[in-house]
């Protein structure tokens, strides 16, 4: 098992944490930085003191990750050190072959697709690809697909349907890319078609949200028979920043927006939207990536095994009923609308 080095503040660019634990943590982190500076500048060995503070910071981080607020979960879900799609694929499959391109326009590096063996059975795997560093993130558009990314994903799903093998999708995206060319090539059409085809794809679909489930860009590969979320993943109709800017007209109100949107895994399990929450290692997936990857692989294998032998008919009926039920409405037939048009 590997453990990555502790990160700095859990919430980048966040200057005034409201949470007392977060406040303590940033205080301890400042002390560590100061002691490191002294160590280098004045050549005094403060190793013991630094180690003690780091242990304290570690304990605080684990405490925060045990009961994170919605906004802290957003930060955890976006953490740059979280495992990436290729690591999950490596943990889940053997003999993986990546398939490129939408056969029409190009290959979108923001989505990875391919075929691999899971428990000795072939499957298609599709996932958003964020980068590990700035250069890779620019190349992969921070995991925000263009239309050709969704068209590649759909092509591989149709291949899975033809081969009668299941589809596994791994979601981790801020959303579909908001770009000029994305609009020119039909971002709406690409997502809409993906939704329509996934709704009636004649093979099992298992989805895991491993990090950010950003709106339509996430859902476009997420219409599935089983939806699982890693414990600190989020799934939302809009980013807390976007929501704060529109509804509060104040981009600083991201914490309030994150709370109000009910975007955490436990919230969504409560609404019956998520079938299973996959626990993360202490401190979050980025602290012990191998454990997180193993947990995701175990859950996907178990769910795929449960789907085996199921008839297409019962699969499609269950998928229909699952989505058909989602939402809350009331029927007040007979009552007048609240007001009349003037």
């Amino acid at each position: 098992m590997s453990s990555r080095p502790p990160d700095l503040a859990g919430a980048p660019g966040d200057t005034a944490p409201d949470d007392p634990l977060e406040r303590d943590l940033s205080g301890v982190e400042r002390e560590i930085l100061e002691l490191r500076r002294i160590t280098t500048a004045e050549r005094i060995d403060l190793g013991e003191q630094i180690a003690a503070l780091e242990a304290r910071a570690e304990a605080l981080r684990e405490e925060i990750a045990r009961h994170p607020s919605a906004w802290q979960r957003v930060q955890l879900a976006r953490h740059p050190e979280r495992p990436k799609v290729d690591e999950y694929i490596a943990g889940l499959t053997s003999e993986f072959v990546e398939l490129h391109g939408d056969r029409g326009f190009g290959d979108d590096p923001a989505i990875v697709t391919g075929l691999g063996m899971i428990d000795g059975q072939p499957a298609a795997v599709i996932g958003h690809a964020k980068g590990r560093d700035t250069r890779e993130n620019i190349a992969r558009r921070f995991g925000m697909p263009n239309p050709e990314g969704y068209r590649k994903a759909l092509r591989v799903m149709k291949l899975a349907e033809k081969l009668r093998i299941p589809v596994v999708t791994l979601i981790d995206t801020p959303g579909a890319f908001p770009g000029k060319e994305a609009e020119e090539r039909g971002q709406s059409e690409a997502i809409a078609t993906s939704l329509l085809e996934m709704a009636r794809l004649r093979t099992p679909i298992v989805t895991v949200i491993t990090g950010e489930g950003g709106s339509g860009g996430a859902l476009a590969i997420g219409v599935s028979d089983t939806l699982m979320m890693l414990e600190h993943a989020v799934y939302s109709v809009i980013s807390p920043e976007g929501c704060a800017a529109i509804l509060w007209r104040d981009p600083q109100r991201t914490r309030d927006a994150a709370e109000a949107l009910r975007l955490t895994a436990p919230d969504l399990a409560g609404f019956g939207v998520v079938d299973e929450i996959i626990p993360e290692p202490p401190g979050g997936a980025h602290r012990h990536p191998d454990d997180a990857i193993a947990s995701v692989a175990e859950a996907v294998r178990r769910r795929l095994a449960a789907e085996r032998g199921r008839s297409e008919e019962s699969l499609l009926t269950a998928r229909y009923e699952k989505y058909r039920r989602i939402g809350r409405v009331r029927d007040i037939t007979g009552a007048d609308p609240g007001g009349q048009a003037e």
């Binding site: 908001p178 709406s188 859902l219 975007l263 007001g339 048009a341």
Partner: protein, 310 residues
């Protein structure tokens, strides 16, 4: 089923909400060419500016009155009203925003659905009300679109939806997002059954609604000048750090990029839809439409005594 036809169609060009902001009321300023147009002239012209051709937004009621045969509309699911599943409060509580929207539009939600005929051809229809919280899709809009698809499937009548929406409704959170999937499963079944779906994109059609049922039509037509796109202009400009050209994300832009079938001026919309319904009503070899489907069914023609008079 539905309450009987409302008396809307006797006065097809009833005031759209935006007009109330004009205190004088007699003259309307065109938002595009800024010329003042006499209200009656504008209404005679189907709320299309006679100077520059700008298509003013229509309420759901006016939209249906424009295209449906007189007295043919029967509303369905009019009793469906929104809940507040998240207990959402931003600057105002969500239920307060709903009440305001009801008062402003006289509607209970952002879509009006039912059945009707267009030049005698039956269809299941829905028209979105942009004045109701920006035509946003929450659970009720998703439910009414899904039920409309199911009704079209049952009766084997085509589905015609007039879309005008800013996207998914934030106040119902992820449940709104998943309405995109709910409408997709229902429209997927309709497609499998071989029943046609015509989507009419009105100003504006964006976000999660554009990225779901708006672009799932077998035939997609748009009104001239309608704003249609996935992401908002400002978001794109901030992302790519450049100004977007004029005409970006308009119906004309979409036609040029091969994303819609046709742009239909408002004065021709009724005739064009009627023609589309009739064209696909022609006998169709079931084998051509796929094993499960029975061909594109565009409904039975009405018997002579059922023909609407308008």
């Amino acid at each position: 089923m539905a309450p009987p036809v409302l008396d809307w169609f006797g006065r097809p060009n009833r005031a759209a909400p935006e007009r109330r902001e004009m205190p004088a009321g007699l003259w309307i300023k065109c938002p595009r060419c800024a010329s003042l147009v006499y209200r009656k002239e504008l209404e005679r012209n189907l709320r299309v500016c006679p100077r520059c051709g700008y298509h003013h937004r229509l309420s759901a009621v006016d939209r249906l009155a424009l295209v449906l045969d007189r007295d043919s509309f029967a509303q369905t699911d009019s009793g469906l009203a929104p809940e507040d599943p998240l207990g959402f409060v931003d600057e105002k509580p969500y239920p307060e925003r709903i009440e305001e929207a009801e008062r402003r539009t006289g509607q209970r939600e952002a879509i009006l659905t039912g059945t009707g005929t267009i030049e005698g051809s039956r269809a299941v229809v829905g028209a979105m009300e942009f004045g109701f919280l920006g035509g946003s899709m929450g659970s009720v809009v998703g439910e009414k679109v899904a039920r409309s698809a199911e009704r079209a499937h049952e009766r084997r009548w085509p589905l015609v939806l007039f879309v005008a929406s800013g996207g998914a409704r934030m106040q119902e959170g992820t449940l709104s997002l998943l309405q995109m999937a709910k409408t997709s499963v229902a429209l997927g079944r309709l497609a499998d059954a071989g029943v046609a779906f015509i989507s009419v994109l009105c100003d504006p059609t964006t976000g999660g609604v554009a990225a779901s049922f708006a672009f799932q039509g077998d035939v997609i037509v748009a009104e001239p000048g309608a704003l249609v796109g996935f992401a908002g202009r400002r978001v794109i400009e901030q992302t790519i750090r450049q100004k977007l050209p004029d005409g970006f994300q308009t119906a004309e832009f979409l036609l040029e990029h091969g994303l819609v079938d046709a742009i239909v001026p408002r004065g021709e919309l009724r005739t064009t839809l009627a023609r589309l319904l009739r064209l696909a009503k022609a006998p169709c070899d079931p084998a051509l439409a796929g094993a499960a489907a029975q061909g594109w069914e565009f409904g039975e023609p009405l018997a002579a005594d059922e023909q609407p008079t308008a």
